[in-house]
């Protein structure tokens, strides 16, 4: 009994002091994949968020308060994402959530944040997120927007009509694949082949043989970098020689580490690239990021950096509260960040456009042909 009481008292004391220490800080939460098959994106995001926080703290914080990040790992898994969301909403000090990255995770977690009235800024693309919650915002074009832009790129810019798709069988892949097929059929083109795979798979030869059978002019792979690198390598092995377009899940240096020479020339959409100088502040961001982490930032890091600064701007302008952040984001009229100018529409989606990137000599560079 005595031991129990001491333990309880100690716990109370510990939690009290914990609260006292953190009451001063402004807390943001990152809910992204830190392990699992899309871990790289979560790490890019967290690094960029932490950089933005460090810069804001060095400049005196917000209203004299320091900012602190709580990093949660949703493993890119919707089941885990729901648990992570529960954990986050049980903490009243969290002002906003940055995440989730995977569409399936965002869809699983959104209702929980919505109920708790916490602003969430996601970079998942599935269309079901549009207008799903008054509290959620999206900084990346939806799958419908991307499908429209990419089908235009393939058909009008590149001039291909026989197109095959291999997609990941999850909310992200299915969403983009159907949107893409619809966008093509509006242009009077039917897909030559359409094959699916399970995220986490290693062998894609049956799918690639199917594609090969259809003799397409271009292959569009919808998925994440790990599977993307494997599909490209196996396609080459099977003698499938054709241009390959990847989806935004390819947009990482990791694709090159995994795919090596095989991914040279593969084109994929993104929002930022390591030597991007299109927008003011980009160069400073790149050099600060490189100084801190020893490598250059990429699309999702840059987006997360902008998102974090957007939330800071909201708190500076409207005050430190969840409502204030939501109101600011809703009314924001062109926030200029390193990935361009952001503004949310009635569905809380962004109007940022994709750029096309490619791998050249082991580096991610702007593709020769743009939209």
């Amino acid at each position: 009994m005595l031991r129990k009481m001491i333990a309880a008292a100690a716990m109370l004391l510990a939690s009290a002091s914990f609260n006292a220490a953190s009451a001063e800080d402004i807390v943001l939460a990152s809910a992204n994949p830190m392990t699992g098959n899309s871990a790289q994106f979560g790490q890019y995001k967290v690094r960029a968020i932490q950089l933005a926080i460090e810069q804001a703290n060095a400049a005196g914080g917000i209203d004299g308060r320091q900012i602190r990040l709580v990093v949660q790992d949703d493993q890119g898994n919707p089941k885990e994402a729901a648990l992570v969301a529960q954990r986050i909403v049980s903490d009243d000090s969290v002002m906003a959530v940055l995440g989730h990255w995977n569409s399936s995770s965002t869809l699983a977690a959104l209702p929980i944040y919505d109920k708790a009235n916490i602003p969430v800024v996601t970079d998942s693309i599935n269309r079901k997120i549009s207008g799903a919650s008054r509290w959620s915002f999206r900084v990346e074009p939806t799958d419908l927007q991307q499908a429209e832009q990419l089908s235009g790129y393939i058909v009008d810019t590149l001039g291909y009509k026989k197109i095959a798709v291999i997609y990941a069988n999850n909310d992200y892949g299915q969403g983009l694949a159907t949107a893409f097929a619809d966008a093509l059929s509006k242009r009077g083109i039917e897909l030559a082949a359409q094959d699916a795979y399970l995220e986490g798979a290693t062998d894609f030869t049956p799918q690639i043989s199917n594609v090969q059978q259809a003799e397409p002019e271009i292959l569009f792979i919808i998925g994440y970098y790990r599977e993307g690198a494997l599909i490209v390598q196996q396609a080459q092995r099977l003698g499938l020689e054709l241009p390959i377009l990847g989806s935004d899940g390819f947009t990482t240096q990791e694709l090159i580490k995994l795919g090596g020479a095989a991914v040279e020339g593969v084109v994929f959409p993104g929002f930022f690239f390591p030597n991007d100088e299109r927008f003011p502040g980009s160069l400073e961001f790149v050099s600060a990021y490189e100084a801190k982490y020893g490598e250059k930032p990429e699309s999702y890091g840059a987006l997360a950096y902008d998102t974090t600064n957007m939330i800071f701007a909201a708190m500076r302008e409207k005050g430190v509260s969840r409502e204030a952040i939501r109101d600011y984001l809703e009314q924001m009229d062109g926030f200029s960040g390193v990935t361009g100018s952001h503004k949310f529409n009635a569905d809380h989606d962004t109007e940022v456009r994709i750029i096309l990137l490619t791998v050249k000599d082991g580096e991610i560079v702007l593709a020769g042909k743009q939209l």
Partner: protein, 292 residues
């Protein structure tokens, strides 16, 4: 048309060979102590590869590094059985099962802590020439994978049925208590089985890492699940069953994906298991033990 069928058959044969090799090791321990070791893919398949790759990065020549990986995996199998499984040998089945899942989660997370969560390429590019048969390309590595699988399955079959160790393995499988009374060192048999089984698992892992040029801390999970299905499908503890079942499952996957729908590829594999469970519950080569 024929070329397409041949290509899909070859795709299936390679997928199936990996599955079969995985199952041979899995099935041995499953057969001897009735333990569906869900950490099989983590102990051998995954840890063996990671240790080999680490050894390579530490400056060990690649051939030697692979041997180090294989040896480490076999020893790890021994350690796991001694530390984690031995205490629950005589506990209810469910406890053992849960223990193996616990070990699996532990090893996967350990690997993530040590080596990071990301997938990595295999560090040494391997020359992989091919010959053309019609429009189908036959690669050297595919031949190696198939040959190693068949060879190891046959030698394990010979070991189990024509050696003294094999005899004691079968006796232990039949009835551990009676085997002990007959003077068989049951512990040694169990440890030996694990050592061998894990070794085979890590051969499969290293071949897969080289062939697919990819390693990740979670690489052992799905193959283990499939190995379990194949072990049931081929007949528990049956090594020819593991071989035939694995290849069957690989080909069903490839043809199902090729001719019906690729979205259900793994679905076809598990459907096959379902059909077997309903119509042939003892598997292809299994004999009913429950009656004994």
């Amino acid at each position: 048309m024929v070329d397409y069928l041949l290509q899909q058959l070859l795709n299936g044969l390679v997928i199936g060979s990996f599955l079969a090799l995985m199952t041979v090791g899995f099935s041995m321990t499953y057969g001897v102590i009735r333990l569906a070791n869900f950490a099989h893919g983590d102990i051998g398949y995954m840890m063996g590869v990671y240790v080999a790759v680490s050894a390579y990065f530490a400056g060990v020549p690649i051939a030697l590094a692979l041997v180090v990986g294989l040896g480490f995996a076999a020893l790890l199998g021994l350690v796991v059985v001694r530390v984690a499984y031995k205490p629950v040998f005589f506990a209810p089945r469910l406890v053992m099962l849960l223990t193996t899942i616990g070990v699996s989660i532990f090893l996967e997370n350990l690997a993530m802590v040590i080596w990071g969560a990301q997938a990595r390429p295999f560090p040494v590019p391997v020359d992989n020439p091919f010959i053309k048969v019609g429009s189908v390309r036959l690669f050297l590595l595919q031949g190696v994978v198939i040959a190693v699988t068949v060879l190891l399955a046959i030698s394990m079959h010979v070991l189990v049925h024509h050696t003294r160790l094999g005899k004691s393995m079968r006796a232990t499988a039949e009835d551990m208590e009676t085997a002990k009374i007959m003077g068989i060192n049951v512990n040694r048999v169990v440890y030996g089985t694990f050592l061998l089984g894990t070794f085979l698992g890590s051969v499969a892992g290293i071949l897969a890492a080289v062939y697919y040029n990819s390693i990740s801390p979670l690489m052992g999970f799905t193959p283990t699940l499939k190995a379990f299905c194949i072990a049931v499908l081929g007949g528990i503890g049956s090594l020819p069953g593991a071989l035939v079942g694995g290849v069957l499952m690989g080909i069903v996957e490839a043809l199902g994906a090729g001719y019906i729908h690729s979205g259900f590829r793994d679905g076809f594999a598990y459907l096959l298991l379902f059909v077997f469970l309903v119509f042939l519950p003892n598997g292809l080569f299994g004999k009913s033990r429950e009656r004994a």
